[in-house]
């Protein structure tokens, strides 16, 4: 079970969090032309890297904040955790 450091609450067990996928995906802006390709990439295409991965987790049983977690998908090492608005 992972041990995730919520930037708001501190180190907590994984079972307080829910996983939210790739944190580097940027939603296309509203009311802008988006090509089919770009939209499909946004909705469906995700990398599945072996190694470092910046991902979203929500501290659902805690402060309910969405946070960013930089984690190694192979070793589960967590390098850093960030608030939603922070960049790596």
């Amino acid at each position: 079970m992972l041990h995730i450091k919520c930037p708001y609450c501190g180190l907590r067990s994984q079972n307080e969090f829910s996983y939210g996928g790739d944190a580097t995906v940027k939603r296309p802006e509203l009311n802008k032309e988006v090509s089919d390709q770009d939209w499909d990439n946004f909705v469906y295409l995700r990398k599945s890297p072996k190694g470092k991965h910046l991902e979203l987790w929500q501290h659902i049983s805690g402060c309910r904040q969405w946070i960013k977690v930089e984690r190694d998908t192979l070793t589960h090492e967590i390098f850093k955790t960030l608030k939603a608005t922070e960049e790596v």
């Binding site: 067990s13 939210g20 939209w39 909705v43 659902i60 969405w66």
Partner: protein, 998 residues
């Protein structure tokens, strides 16, 4: 009177307390402090089971966790416990156990014929034998295998025992209380670290209990007792026996199973049977010791052949002789310790040492005691079926390739010692890249991945002096990192015997003309010839060989077999062991009971049960409840002998004719506040939200980014910057996360806050043509006329002194209102509604009637919004704004979503107006078409229309828009039904929606 194998004195058992127990129905006696195994051996019982594949007789091989044979089925506290290792089960008064894997009994076992049909059970026999014919599998092979295989039978009754989970944090978790565990724990504890010391056995001390050493001026055992006494007196230390750390998971999370009550006849009232500890440790010390390796020779699975260390343990801990004419067969000095122990108790052992004459300290001592030692000798084969009676022995050549003339000597046990295998399971589980140590012919931990340190013989260190030195200093070092204290401990002086090198020899060659079975894996019956065969058949990777032969795959996880298996593969393949590599160790290290894993999360405790504030009223009024997510909701209110169908029909009809009231507390509610709330809703919902006036509600649909409908519900503007959103019961939590996602990550510039208010409000839906009459009487001061409170209007009122929110919204399609009050006032509101509604024939209605009402109105719900449909499919396209952008909009222009024959929701009525259509039925054109019959769509929801008094269903079918009036078929292969149907509008009742506006 059976022979007695108990010594007159000695051992750590309590001879003052005699205990009676039963094995296979027969009564025996043992002492407090015995295990089931030691007590049986003391009574001369050596036959305890049958082997897995060949049903060969099985005795005892070890004295602890590594035991591959002596697995029994126990009855304790009126509960059945399968898969219990007799070597670990402590004796208690009245214990009852029996053999497994034998039928009709352990002495005469029909399955043993497999032994003589051995050629039909080669490596991979499951894969080969039962392949053909296919139809035989279910009827013949599988039932036979089921009956013949397995280690015991689980009970099918509910387990009355209690299990619990515990979470703990510590600085150092130390797994094993042998010398390395005690020393590191003590050093760390002296430095002020929070320490948990876990010992699998009931007694602390590990190897110190059986070794002849002195530490300081004490014996090993005395020293361990003193250390435990000290540790127990320290407030920063938790010391646990009967506790197996079985799994090392990510981020230094370890799981330990504590057998709290298994050693007692019953479980005390407030005590669990077992407790599972989830321990998050900053540092982990693996001091799990090592397990003796078997030597491989003919019939080496015969009862009476056992590990030499186990024989010593039975002598020293339990005062029990495993035999009176022992052969010690060894390739190293450890065997001599057992020989000396026999000699000390006036038993004459014969030692067969595979090595040439050597003279280490202990061998000299054995020679001085005139112990019969035969160097360069091996056991070729054990003789005897249910118990060893003699051994074929022979001198072996210096190159260990050939044996000389075979001699037969009488014996009643053969104690084998093939040197030691460090217990590296936990280190390997944590991700440690282990390495092969050629000096000890075994793998030891190397580069740690997590914060784990392996000490003592688990790390391949076999001298006590070195173990204590490194363990004290590691304990200091690891704790210093955490506590910043630096308490140096003087390592006591150690007296121990110096050992000579072990012999790398491990497998006795077959004599000419003999093909004795030489077993590697004693639990899964994998022999040397099975591995040979697998290799001949082309299996190369050790992981494949393992799976094909099942080597090391039994419940003992190959604790005694893995290394010999690897040795064999490397010998045959002419590779070095490290090139072959070992298979992956996975948790659990020992079997863990399902009860312990589940803990207290059983039955209704497996998830929370949420009840509305009106729950007890429902209960009192004969509600039959149904699980709706985590909520319990009334499904119907039973009157007299009514069944579900009759009751729901009555309730729904009463709504259509008079007025009904339904508990809608479970609907998700989200409070939305902030100046940008309207803009936010406008982006979340598919329809327009910017111009919703204060005091008005609006129905909205929200999508996922892929265009699929996520949820629907009404949202009401309470004041300028305050909205009250409702969601479906099922999606409440997901919708909140969804909103938080967009507010926190995508549009953080929006000034909006959302919070769940589901539990703050109790809700009642009052529906039916007479609902306004009820409402007026509830709120006599309010103008609730069609003008005063129009459809989709909102008002606040005072319900006999209680603040209430009134929404004119409808799910039933009738004139309807939803009244919300603070949860604490829910029951008060409900009783008032019932009291006032009485004169209008009000009746409560449950979810079944609720479904009927919405289905015949064509209102889509969860069965249509099933995560596969877009707004068009649900005839919700009118709610999709063309002007503004919103979540998921871009996806709606996808080609598949705008096909002219896109699926759409329709109504379905059986032609005979009688036959109900099972939900999930296929809609097809031709009932007799060749299979697979092309499917137009499926029936999503069915009801009995109370308006028309015939069955009615909703279906989502291809080109639904143009199918109205078509005669098709509903096909239910599950219920074996073919029903001719007509497609009609999904809005079966009041298609113009006049009633809700009346």
């Amino acid at each position: 009177m059976p022979e007695n194998f108990r010594l007159d004195k000695g051992g750590l058992i309590n001879r003052d307390k005699k205990i009676s127990f039963k094995f296979n129905g027969k009564k025996y006696f043992g002492y407090e402090g015995d295990t089931l195994a030691s007590a049986l051996i003391a009574n001369g019982v050596h036959l305890v089971g049958r082997s897995f594949k060949y049903h060969r007789p099985r005795g005892f091989f070890g004295a602890g966790v590594d035991e591959p044979y002596a697995i029994v089925q126990m009855t304790r506290n009126n509960e059945i416990d399968p898969n219990v290792r007799a070597t670990e089960q402590e004796l208690f008064e009245g214990l009852e156990a029996k053999s497994v894997n034998c039928w009709p009994n352990v002495d005469f076992d029909i399955g043993a014929i497999n032994n003589f049909l051995g050629k039909f059970f080669p490596a991979g026999f499951y894969y080969k034998t039962f392949m053909w014919p296919k139809s035989f599998w279910y009827k013949v092979y599988e039932p036979i295998i089921r009956k013949a295989a397995g280690f015991g039978a689980a009970s099918i009754k509910h387990d009355k025992e209690k299990y619990e989970h515990k979470y703990e944090y510590c600085d150092l978790l130390i797994t094993g209380s042998g010398p390395s565990g005690l020393a590191s724990a003590y050093a760390a504890a002296q430095n002020g670290a929070k320490v948990i010391l876990a010992e699998d056995k009931p007694r602390f001390g590990g190897s110190l209990l059986t070794s002849e050493v002195t530490i300081g001026n004490k014996s090993g055992k005395e020293w361990s007792e003193e250390m435990i006494f000290n540790l127990k007196s320290m407030p920063n230390v938790i010391v646990k026996n009967r506790s197996q750390v079985f799994g090392y998971y990510d981020h230094n999370m370890l799981v330990m199973s504590e057998r709290v009550s298994d050693h007692l006849p019953t479980t005390d009232k407030y005590i669990p049977k077992q407790r599972l500890w989830y321990i998050r440790a900053k540092e982990v010390v693996i001091s799990s010791g090592s397990i003796e390796r078997p030597l491989v020779f003919g019939n080496n699975d015969t009862p009476g052949v056992m590990l030499s260390s186990a024989a010593k343990e039975y002598l020293k801990v339990y005062g029990v002789l495993v035999g009176k004419k022992p052969i010690i067969f060894t390739n190293n000095d450890s065997g001599y310790e057992t020989a000396l122990e026999f000699k000390k108790n006036k038993i004459e052992p014969i030692v067969l040492d595979t090595r040439k004459d050597t003279n280490s300290e202990i061998i000299k001592e054995a020679k001085e005691l005139n112990i019969n030692i035969k160097f360069s000798y091996v056991v070729v084969a054990a003789k005897g079926y249910k118990k060893v009676k003699s051994a074929d022995i022979a001198r072996i050549s210096d190159d260990k390739k050939s044996i000389e003339k075979i001699e037969n000597i009488k014996c009643d046990c053969i104690c084998v010692s093939g040197f030691w295998t460090p217990t590296i399971h936990l280190a390997s589980q944590s991700g440690n890249k282990t390495k092969f140590n050629e000096e000890i012919d075994a793998f030891i931990p190397s580069q740690s991945k997590q914060n784990e340190t392996t000490l003592g013989s688990a790390n391949g260190v076999f001298t006590l002096e070195e173990t204590l030195k490194t363990s004290f200093s590691k304990g200091e070092e690891l704790s210093k990192k955490i506590t910043n204290k630096d308490n140096k401990i003087t390592v006591p002086t150690v007296v121990e015997k110096k050992s000579s090198n072990h012999d790398k020899f491990w497998c006795v060659p077959l004599p000419e003309g003999k093909n004795y079975k030489r077993f590697l894996d004693f639990q899964n019956d994998v022999s040397v010839s099975d591995i040979h065969l697998a290799l001949r058949e082309g299996y190369r990777s050790i992981e494949h060989v393992k799976r094909y032969t099942t080597l090391g795959m039994a419940t003992d996880q190959g604790k005694t077999s893995n290394l010999n298996g690897l040795q064999l593969v490397s010998d045959v393949e002419n590779k070095l062991v490290p090139q072959v590599g070992h298979t992956t160790f996975r948790p659990p290290y020992t079997p863990v009971s399902i009860g312990a894993i589940v803990g207290r999360e059983i039955g209704k405790h497996s998830k929370p049960t949420r009840k509305s504030p009106m729950h007890y009223w429902h209960e009192k009024n004969n509600a039959v409840f149904v699980d709706a997510g985590v909520w319990l909701r009334p499904r119907y209110y039973k009157q007299g002998n009514e069944n579900l169908f009759e009751a729901s029909k009555r309730e729904a009809k009463n709504v259509r004719q008079n007025v009904g009231v339904c508990d809608v507390t479970t609907l998700g509610k989200i409070d939305i506040k902030g100046p940008d709330s309207a803009e936010f809703l406008n982006r979340v919902y598919t329809n327009a939200w910017l111009k919703l006036p204060i005091g008005k509600a609006r129905y909205g649909v929200m999508l996922r980014e892929d265009g699929i409908v996520m949820d629907d519900g009404t949202t009401t503007r309470i004041s300028e910057n305050h909205y009250h959103m409702t969601t479906t019961t099922a999606q409440a939590a997901n919708v909140l996360s969804h909103l938080e996602y967009y507010l926190q990550l995508v549009w953080p510039e929006l000034n909006v806050n959302v919070v769940s208010s589901t539990e703050q409000w109790a809700g009642a839906a009052i529906a039916g043509p007479k609902s306004r009459n009820v409402l007026q009487k509830l709120f006599p001061d309010l103008d609730v006329s069609n003008q005063g409170l129009p459809f989709m209007g909102y008002m606040e009122g005072n319900l006999f002194g209680v603040n209430a929110k009134i929404f004119r919204i409808s799910f039933s399609g009738e004139l309807a209102y939803e009244v919300n009050v603070e949860s604490d006032n829910g029951n008060f509101m409900w009783e008032k509604i019932m009291e006032i509604g009485k004169e209008f024939n009000i009746q409560p209605y449950g979810t079944e009637a609720l479904s009927t009402l919405r289905i015949e109105m064509g209102h889509v719900a969860g069965s249509e919004l099933d995560g596969r449909t877009i707004p068009y499919d649900n005839s919700l396209e009118g709610l999709v704004s063309k002007k503004k952008d919103f979540i998921g909009k871009r996806s709606l222009s996808k080609k598949a979503y705008i096909e002219p024959d896109r699926q759409k929701v329709v109504g379905v009525v059986p032609l005979d107006k009688k036959t109900s259509i099972p939900e999930g039925s296929y809609i097809v054109k031709d009932a007799n078409a060749k299979l697979p019959n092309p499917k137009l769509g499926h029936v999503s929801a069915s009801c009995w229309s109370v308006e028309y008094d015939n069955p009615f269903s909703l279906a989502i079918i291809k080109n639904g828009k143009n199918m109205i009036g078509q005669k098709l078929f509903a096909l239910s292969p599950l219920k074996n039904k073919t029903i001719p149907v007509e497609i009609v509008s999904s809005h079966y009742v009041d298609p113009k929606g006049e009633r809700v506006r009346s």
